[in-house]
């Protein structure tokens, strides 16, 4: 009898101790956010990632395995500004997790488990009017703010605030991890700012209209895109006009996001004499960029190499 009571007490203790030891289950939509979540959460979180680095964030395919991950998650960390519109709302709808529901109003997430990293971002390129005649517009503005390392600071702060809200017992741990990450990123930002000085005012074109924040950080002046409109593949007429425009304005740099085909970019470079810089739009898009810091560093180095 005594043994049974002891066993029962041990079981109850074990059950009581479990929540304290349980990790916060986090699903991040893209590798950048997964990396920063791991840095901020440390050993207190387990992080799964949905999109793979080389994928196009606009075209991530909804896999049922994502549904299972979201169903059991405590938090979903996302870039927001409707950039995950092709997969996150549908997955949240199927995941049936009361902590995070599809929010059709903003094509995003609603509920206590939602951590929107765009909170506080100074959004660029908010459209004056919304029409599909202007291509695949993001109604809330350009969502690719993760390309600006300074917005990485904001991303980390938003993640830390979200973790602390969901797991207040470890708020101090998250703050400590956040401070360490911010210190590292700030140091690198200071170095990068010096390094990108030669890019200031340099005219460039990109494949897709996703480099506004990168332009803000580096000083590059992106005058046009290879795509006819956001999400609309280039036409021969548009390319002919783009060649003239690049020649007229002396554009010597083409930025190709790695997920877009290289043939048109190479053709354009051949016609204009411009150099091509291949960048990633998410961490882990290119080899050796599995962390957010490495991703930013790789992009900046690619721009500097091409502009040299």
């Amino acid at each position: 009898m005594n043994k049974s009571r002891l066993a029962l007490a041990a079981l109850l203790l074990a059950l009581a101790a479990r929540p304290a030891a349980a990790k916060l289950r986090v699903v991040a939509t893209i590798p950048d956010l997964a990396d920063v979540s791991r840095r901020v959460g440390g050993g207190l979180v387990s992080v799964d990632c949905l999109a793979r680095g080389p994928e196009d964030i606009h075209q991530v395919v909804m896999r049922p395995s994502f549904v299972s991950k979201l169903n059991r998650a405590d938090a979903v960390v996302y870039l927001g500004l409707s950039v995950e519109h092709s997969f996150l709302p549908g997955l949240l709808d199927a995941a049936a997790n009361p902590r995070m529901r599809e929010d059709p109003a903003v094509l995003g997430c609603a509920g206590p488990g939602c951590i929107d990293c765009s909170a506080g971002v100074r959004v660029l390129q908010k459209p004056d009017s919304l029409s599909r005649a202007e291509g695949e517009l993001h109604p809330q503005g350009n969502p690719h703010y993760n390309l600006d390392p300074e917005d990485g600071l904001l991303i980390a702060r938003n993640i830390a605030a979200g973790f602390s809200r969901l797991d207040p017992a470890h708020a101090a741990d998250y703050e400590r991890n956040l401070a360490a990450f911010l210190d590292e990123l700030k140091t690198r930002i200071a170095e990068w700012k010096k390094a990108v000085a030669p890019l200031q005012g340099l005219k460039a074109v990109s494949y897709h209209k996703d480099v506004a924040y990168l332009g803000r950080f580096t000083g590059l002046d992106f005058i046009d895109t290879i795509e006819l409109k956001p999400g609309v593949a280039p036409t021969p007429t548009h390319l002919a006009r783009l060649v003239r425009e690049m020649q007229d304005q002396g554009v010597k740099l083409i930025v190709r996001e790695q997920q877009y085909e290289s043939r048109t970019t190479a053709w354009l470079a051949g016609r204009t004499g411009a150099k091509v810089a291949v960048i990633g739009t998410m961490a882990d898009a290119l080899p050796g960029t599995e962390t957010y810091v490495k991703f930013c560093a790789r992009n900046i180095q690619a721009l500097l190499d091409a502009a040299r």
Binding site: P54, V61, S65, S68, G90, A95, Y260
Partner: protein, 392 residues
């Protein structure tokens, strides 16, 4: 009193003038910050229609030539409305206008906050049977719905009823669905749903679907469905048979429609915009007692099979060629088979506009003449038109 009211602004101005420039700047800054906060926090759209449902429209036109006889076909103008009803429920409706008229394809409510991974959907919906059966026509990879699905399910899996789905809380994706409906299939004419009838003449569905990633780039999805109708009441057409009394048949009229579906996907991370492949196969088995089409007298119980298999390749940002083979036995004569072989080429002009060219060769021993069918489909999407995770 009037003097006091006139004096007040003067006093305020005097007080403001007495403030230091630094304090004034601080006040202005604070005021500006408050205004900015209000502006940034303001919703993008404030009007009486702000809570109206999201609205979309899919337009689908086909030019079809069958053995030298062609027609322009207005296939559908599909309007969809969708919005949350309250924190616990969402609703949607899909109304389809076509050359045949206007009909409500879906009008359903779905819970969004049930505990235990449960979701209840009710109303007019596309029942969760198989894979292609619950795809709207313009979402199919081919122009025409495969005959195997069209004849066995009766068009799309449209049904009036209720579904309960359960997502297993496991690492691997596993989902079960139970359903009860008036009938299954938009063109299923076995029963008239306008008339009431016993519950044993309803159709009941069970479905289990599972999914497995195979490495980073490959995945397989499996599903098994069974729709069971315990009884069917059929009354002889005495006007045709000439009998004095119309015979009613309910005995041994149960029907089962079973289905297995398998989907393999290749989705490489690198070049995902430009490369990929889908291989899908679905097999159906129908077992039911048949009735004479004119006499409505019982004939034999027939077990018939049908199925299709297709391969769809993504070879660029725009181009997606594919091929589909379809075999369908006749529901009344299992050995009478219609075979359809289709080659198709899809051009995604943009994400919202699509052109598709298809050639089909129809052969078989089911008494149908052989036919060559060429179709050109033009589809455009306006506004918010999404059929969701299930129809991906």
């Amino acid at each position: 009193m009037r003097l006091i009211s006139l004096a007040s602004p003067c006093l305020l101005l005097a007080a403001a003038a007495a403030q230091s420039p630094a304090a004034l700047s601080e006040d202005r800054l604070q005021s500006l910050e408050e205004r900015l906060t209000k502006l940034e926090g303001a919703p993008a759209k404030t009007s009486l229609s702000a809570f109206n449902p999201a609205l979309g429209l899919a337009l689908d036109f086909v030019l079809r030539d069958r053995d030298g006889k062609a027609n322009f076909l207005f296939r559908s103008a599909e309007v969809n409305l969708e919005a949350p009803v309250d924190p616990f429920l969402k609703g949607w409706a899909i109304v389809n206008g076509s050359a045949d008229g206007v009909e409500v394809e879906e009008a359903a409510l779905e819970t969004t906050a049930l505990p235990g991974n449960l979701t209840v959907t009710g109303g007019r919906l596309f029942a969760d049977f198989g894979r292609f059966p619950h795809f709207h026509d313009h979402e199919l990879p081919v122009i025409d719905r495969p005959r195997s699905i069209d004849s066995f399910v009766g068009g799309e899996s449209r049904a009036d009823g209720v579904e309960l789905s359960y997502l297993f809380p496991t690492e691997a994706y596993l989902r079960a669905v139970l359903g009860a409906y008036d009938k299954l299939g938009s063109e299923n004419d076995r029963v008239d749903i306008a008339e009431g009838r016993p519950f044993d003449e309803f159709t009941y569905l069970g479905r289990l679907s599972a999914y497995q990633d195979i490495g980073a780039d490959h995945s397989v999805e499996l599903g098994a469905s069974c729709a069971w109708t315990p009884k069917r009441g059929v009354v002889e057409d005495a006007a045709v048979t000439g009998n004095a009394f119309a015979e009613s048949t309910r005995k041994n009229t149960w029907r089962t429609l079973g289905g297995l579906d398998l989907t393999y996907r290749y989705q490489p991370a690198a070049g995902g915009l430009y490369r990929g492949a889908v291989w899908g196969t679905e097999v159906l088995a129908n077992n039911e007692r048949r009735f004479g089409p004119t006499t409505r007298l019982p004939t034999d119980r027939v077990r018939a099979f049908s199925g299709y298999s297709y391969l769809w390749l993504k070879l660029g940002r725009r181009w997606r060629p594919g091929a589909l083979a379809d075999l369908a036995e006749d529901l009344d004569a299992a050995r009478a088979i219609t075979r359809t072989y289709t080659a198709f080429l899809t051009c995604d002009v943009t994400e919202f506009q699509r052109l598709r060219l298809a050639y089909s060769r129809e052969t078989g021993n089911a008494g149908r003449p052989e036919a060559d069918i060429v179709g050109l489909q033009w589809t455009g999407i306006l506004g918010h038109h999404v059929h969701g995770f299930r129809d991906r």
